[in-house]
Amino acid sequence: NAGVTQTPKFRILKIGQSMTLQCTQDMNHNYMYWYRQDPGMGLKLIYYSVGAGITDKGEVPNGYNVSRSTTEDFPLRLELAAPSQTSVYFCASSSPRVGRGSTDTQYFGPGTRLTVL
């Protein structure tokens, strides 16, 4: 299994440009997440999905959009890039199971480093 893969690894955008950060997992996980990581601020949840066709906002959703048409893919869209969106973006997945043996360990991708100038 490749686990969680993200593309691109690095990207520089100009203010106002748009882009899509790709995320794919091959573990058949139902939960997927997008986080941003800023120095000294830990991880902030942008959006998450509990299954194909279902998405919800996290702590910092403004300026971003997501879709989940398949179990495997969870792309993150930036429509009008702003300098405040300069960050490292991580995608993660998990497969919590209710009841005995329930677990929600997250598996993270390698990240996308985005700079908006």
Binding site: S102, Q106, G111
Partner: protein, 113 residues
């Protein structure tokens, strides 16, 4: 609501000495607690977790953590630090029925030779 605090931005320890990285939490109900490690320019990797059962949890690379309900803490420990343990460590909390964890701000562990 749930929250987690990592009170130290940085922990310095000499190689061979024991290390502790602190974490306290606040959650409604029984917590799920996690530790993750992040090496430079990499994603987070799972170290260990507490769901239920024994308060002392053993994880990867010789790390362990002790769940203390009365002090609402889940400190990460290792008896003998290695230089290769130098990394950023994150504590996270969720609770039964919620699979959206909240992460702490991270603690940078620096192990000196």
């Amino acid at each position: 609501a749930q929250s987690v605090a990592q009170p130290e931005d940085q922990v310095n320890v000499a190689e061979g000495n024991p290390l502790t990285v602190k974490c306290t939490y606040s959650v409604s109900g029984n917590p799920y607690l996690f530790w993750y490690v992040q090496y430079p320019n990499r994603g987070l990797q799972f170290l260990l977790k507490y769901i239920t059962g024994d308060n002392l949890v053993k994880g990867s690379y010789g790390f362990e953590a002790e769940f203390n309900k009365s002090q609402t803490s889940f400190h990460l420990k290792k008896p003998s630090a290695l230089v290769s343990d130098s990394a950023l460590y994150f504590c996270a909390v969720s609770f039964i029925g919620s699979y959206i964890p909240t992460f702490g701000r991270g603690t940078s562990l620096i192990v000196h030779p």
